[in-house]
């Protein structure tokens, strides 16, 4: 009988358990391999985290367990841990010579099943198979225990504090489930037998965009706090989807949101500074705005994006902290400049005003970016993959409105200003590498954060460099080309701040900078976009240099979640590179002019100044962040269904990584996917 055969195979376990060992130190790796072989496991080794990810993505069922070093040059071990957890849901054991409690805590919070100290002893390795069993059992009980859903949910909820993977949690959860299952043994047994007992693996549910969209819609409907797997499942009304599938997906989603909110908080301040618009843009860009934006063909999109963003229930999700942050950031010299701009009769002004609102904080922008980076989270969230898709769509919209940047994805990485900037960037590409940066800024919100800084610097430098538009922008909205107006804020910012670079650094010191860093990391990838020139890359490099710290969900020391971090390291963004010449072409700005959406923003009070800006910003910020989150989550769903939740992530991830070194397109793609317009977004007034 099949069941018996399977049981037979099971009995052999843990012999032959397939382990993937990742460690950049060849001696440690060799030793680890020998130890694992001695334990009778089947070992595959690699010294690159990226290779490991690719191997796992190739075939999700290829490995049972992953052991990874924490300290690796190409990717932070924690990041790999998260990615594996999100994408493949495999147990991951961390290895490190660093045994400080804090680091160990970090590992567990990131979802490590276990944390071993180097040099690792064979006795410890002999027990690692328990993690595999534990995980399987847990999943199984989730599936089979329909009557214990509520209890299971509670367990899930408890576990969702980010320590799901912790052994003790697993133990508790498993225990609880077992208790609950006792009443339902027959059911469980039947289910177990119906499942694939030998492998103890349920067929993985692929969270397609559609599915995810339904999921998010259901969660939104219920309210994030009230969303329980059973209800979500009922709302989704999808066949062959088990509560357990929903439960595990919900857990990931919650973790994701947490991260976003932390980041958002920081970004919010940035967003606020910018006047919220950016954030909204960012969000828009990140979520769907990008796509919408491009689709609409330019400025018009902005409003749409904004509009579309609003309907989503994301706003509600915005952290109050981020809101506050936004408000706090609003006042800024640049804001005033925005006002100035607004006064000009130039149509761009309205748009610009909006933009300015966003940009105004100049320095803040960076914060915004930080806040917005949520999109950057894609890495963590499989949805990233979707990003890639939008990319292609960008050109459509852009080209019409002059936002050609879209597809290039250069804009994405920069993500600062939404398409507007992207376009500007595009046009300016010719002028120099910096342009790329600017483009990136606009394309994705998350990227915006990172790029904003750079863009700002770019802008400022460009302005100084004699780009007529800049000068005009700074002083007045006279600049015929709307682009100026758009850029103006930046220019102003730069001017007002005297040195974007400087501001940036100052901003970076702001708490918000943290997310920025993260984003920078993530953003870094897009920089490599084809459009971006070497400058961008260089800039990226200088900026990123260090590990980005992700806004911690639970603790402050979490490394940037984005896998890009490590890869970005090579990017080395140099925010402070005043040399960056933001040669955003004015034409781009002019495009902005036509952006009705900006008008809306504009009217909201950007012209008025900080106060309004703040208000607007707040809204935007909220909007933005929520959007971002939503976007990130939704991105996948909005993707043309080509990308599977996990698969998408995978490719995106790899692309991201590769992108960093090659074309920035990867990031752009990611951003794009993230930005995928949410269908529910309504058009912004104006």
């Amino acid at each position: 009988m099949i069941v018996e055969e399977r049981k037979g195979t099971r009995d052999q376990f843990p012999v032959g358990m397939r382990v993937l060992a990742v460690d950049d130190n060849p001696i440690c790796l060799k030793l680890l391999e020998a130890l694992l072989v001695r334990c009778q496991y089947k070992v595959t080794t690699t010294d690159k985290a990226i290779t490991a990810l690719n191997m796992m993505r190739e075939n999700r069922n290829k490995f049972d367990l992953v052991i990874s070093d924490v300290h690796m040059p190409d990717m932070d071990g924690f990041k790999l841990l998260e990615l594996v957890g999100l994408e493949m849901d495999l147990p991951v054991i961390m290895l490190s010579a660093n045994g400080e409690t804090q680091t160990v805590m970090k590992g567990i919070s990131h979802g490590a099943c276990d944390y071993l100290l180097k040099p690792v002893r064979i006795e410890e390795l002999r027990n690692i198979w328990q993690h595999v069993i534990r995980r399987r059992k847990f999943e199984k009980s989730c599936c089979t225990d329909s009557d214990n859903r509520d209890d299971g949910l509670k367990v899930l909820a408890n576990s969702e504090d980010g320590h799901w993977a912790a052994d003790d949690h697993n133990g508790k959860i498993t225990k609880k489930r077992k208790d609950q299952s006792e009443a339902d043994e027959d059911d469980s047994e039947d289910n177990i037998e119906n499942d694939d007992p030998s492998s103890q693996k349920k067929p993985r549910v692929v969270w397609t965009i559609e599915l995810h969209r339904k999921f998010v819609a259901a969660v939104n409907q219920l309210g994030i706090d009230k969303a329980v797997p059973k209800k979500i499942l009922d709302l989704m009304n999808v066949e062959n989807l088990t509560r357990e599938n929903v439960a595990s997906h919900l857990q990931k989603y919650r973790l994701y949101l947490k991260r976003l909110s932390v980041v958002a908080g920081q970004q919010a301040s940035m967003v606020a500074a910018v006047g919220g618009r950016n954030s909204s843009y960012l969000n828009m860009a990140s979520l769907n705005g990008f796509r919408n934006y491009y689709a609409i063909g330019g400025s018009r999109q902005l409003p749409t994006v904004l509009g579309s963003l609003q309907p989503t229930g994301v706003l509600g999700r915005m952290n109050s902290s981020s809101t506050l942050a936004m408000q706090g950031l609003l006042p800024s010299p640049t804001v005033q400049l925005c006002g100035m701009h607004k006064s000009t009769s130039n149509p761009c002004n309205t748009d610009l005003g909006r933009i300015q609102g966003i940009v105004a904080p100049g320095n803040r922008q960076m914060n915004l970016l930080h806040g917005v980076p949520m999109n950057l989270e894609p890495e963590q969230f499989p949805q990233l993959k979707l990003l890639q898709e939008p990319r292609n769509q960008l050109p459509a919209g852009f080209s019409d409105s002059g936002f050609t940047v879209g597809p290039k994805s250069n804009s994405f990485p920069i993500g600062t200003t939404n398409p507007l900037f992207v376009q500007a960037h595009e046009q300016h590409n010719r002028t120099g590498g910096l342009q790329n940066h600017s483009v990136k800024m606009s394309s994705s919100s998350s990227e915006l954060l990172d790029f904003n800084l750079q863009d700002i610097s770019q802008f400022t430098s460009n302005n100084r460099s004699g780009d007529g538009s800049w000068q005009g922008a700074s002083g007045s909205t006279e600049d015929p080309t709307s682009s100026l107006s758009i850029l103006a804020p930046f220019g102003n910012i730069a001017l007002s701040s005297g040195n974007i670079g400087a501001n940036i650094s100052s901003v970076t010191t702001h708490a918000v900078t943290k997310p920025f860093d993260e984003f920078a990391n993530t953003m870094a990838a897009p920089l490599h976009d084809a459009i971006t020139n070497n400058n961008i890359n260089n800039h990226v490099r200088s900026l990123n240099g260090n590990t980005m710290a992700m806004p911690p969900v639970h603790d402050d020391s979490r490394p940037s979640n984005f896998s890009l971090d490590n890869s970005i390291q090579s990017w080395d963004y140099s925010i402070n590179s005043n040399t960056v010449s933001s040669r955003y072409s004015n034409p781009l700005l002019s495009k902005l002019r036509t952006d009705e959406a900006t008008a809306r923003f504009h009217s909201s009070g950007i012209a008025v100044g900080e106060k309004n800006l703040g208000a607007t910003a707040v809204v935007q910020g909220n909007f933005g962040t929520s959007l971002v989150r939503q976007d990130c989550m939704i991105d996948r769903s909005t993707v043309d269904g080509q990308l599977k939740f996990k698969g998408g992530y995978e490719s995106e991830n790899s692309r991201l990584h590769s992108g960093i070194n090659s074309n920035g397109s990867c990031l752009a793609d990611v951003v794009n996917s993230m930005v995928k317009p949410v269908s529910t977004f309504s058009v912004f007034p104006g």
Partner: protein
């Protein structure tokens, strides 16, 4: 007997290495991992260690020689060195690495340079000892005997 002498010499040589802390229990673990399916394991790992270490030492020398020292880079190298030395049981080398990292954290170039010197000394010492150890082992095996284990 030739073999007995060789084996005794081997033990006389290896034993103080452990007592002096040049090698530690981790090296013993390495030796235990060597078996018929993996007959040259210890030699392979140690050779890897030599190659990697020498590269690291060169890198460290170069990095610390700069006008402006990139301490993060130095720390990364030392971290790697620490990991590998710990893995093979080169205890004294590992200890110097730990002290070295402290200096890196404090961005103390002088301290780092001193540590680098120490590191080189300890590394070449353990390298020398291990090479002798392998030679003795080869002699025992050539004489038809088995290597006496320390544990």
């Amino acid at each position: 007997m030739e073999l007995a002498n060789l084996q005794r010499r081997y033990l006389d040589f290896t034993s103080p290495l452990f007592h002096e802390g040049i090698l530690d229990n981790q090296f013993t673990q390495l030796q235990q991992l060597q078996d018929e399916s993996n007959p040259e394991f210890v030699l392979e790992v140690v050779t890897l260690f030599f190659d990697d270490s020498e590269k690291l030492l060169n890198e460290l020398t170069r990095t610390l020689d700069q006008q402006v020292v990139d301490f993060k880079k130095v720390d990364a190298h030392v971290h790697q060195f620490k990991g590998s030395s710990a893995s093979i049981g080169a205890q004294r080398v590992k200890n110097v690495c730990m002290a070295f990292r402290n200096y890196c954290e404090e961005m103390d170039q002088e301290g780092c340079l001193t540590c680098l010197q120490q590191l080189k000394q300890e590394y070449f010492l353990v390298k020398n000892k291990l090479e002798t150890l392998f030679k003795l082992e080869q002699q025992i095996v050539a004489a038809g005997g088995s290597i006496p284990m320390m544990w």
